[in-house]
Symmetry: C2
Subunit: 110 residues, 2 copies
DNA sequence: TCTCATTTCTCTACAGTGTAAAGAATCTCT
DNA sequence: AGAGATTCTTTACACTGTAGAGAAATGAGA
């Protein structure tokens, strides 16, 4: 649990963990980012970012069971914490407020 | 004009330039950030960020006239460009879409 | 006009974040 | 037990966040 500041990609990953809900882990998050944002990302970029989020207390993790149908290392599952959700809400509130003050921004898009 | 990626503080500054509209310059932006986000920022942090935004073509700048009532160096005024506004719109659209997918997020806050 | 105080911009520096690549660990199947 | 598959972990470096020092330009007063 370090600073409370959140970088751009950290916010993306945190958001995806929230969107996925149960069963969020490395490759699943990569797929979700590519599907939702149409943006290619690296698996280890996601992992290192998840660790940083965990250091900040915004996500928590535990190792999954040995239920894999196919071979491979055990998955580490992540889920968003209450502070993590609160941070997303703060960002949401902050931005919606500001967007309404910018001429040329379409408020009805909200 | 370099990459198109936008960091967290870069987005804040870009947004403020959009909010202020006419007459956005260093100290004015500092004040606006502290007022809107209740967050203390350094003047040179704002400046270096403005230059990076200008490199990316998201804001443009020109020097102000000699109309200062009190002494001091001339101001450099910044304004948001069309690509800059388009980027904010993209971010807005992207996030509102994702927020609606997260259980526990209040969509009515939008 | 010269110096001073004021205001703002510019440069330098370093920690934090974004991203990729290489490698280690652990599982299933034969 | 060995081979292949899948995922996690470590290492590394460019980009972004932030602060501090200092240079430049303007108005006021001696």
């Amino acid at each position: 649990m370090k600073k409370t500041y959140l970088g751009e990609f950290e916010e993306v990953v945190l958001t995806m963990v929230g969107v996925i809900g149960e069963g969020a882990y490395g490759n699943r998050i990569v797929e979700e980012v590519e599907k939702q944002l149409n943006r290619s990302v690296n698996l280890s970029a996601v992992h290192i970012t998840l660790y940083r989020l965990e250091d900040k207390g915004l996500v928590s993790s535990d190792m999954g069971g040995v239920t894999s149908s196919r071979g491979g290392r055990r998955k580490r599952f992540f889920k968003i914490t209450n502070p993590g959700l609160a941070m997303l809400k703060d960002l949401q509130e902050q931005r919606t407020k500001l967007w309404k003050l910018i001429p040329g921004m379409n408020s009805s898009a909200l």
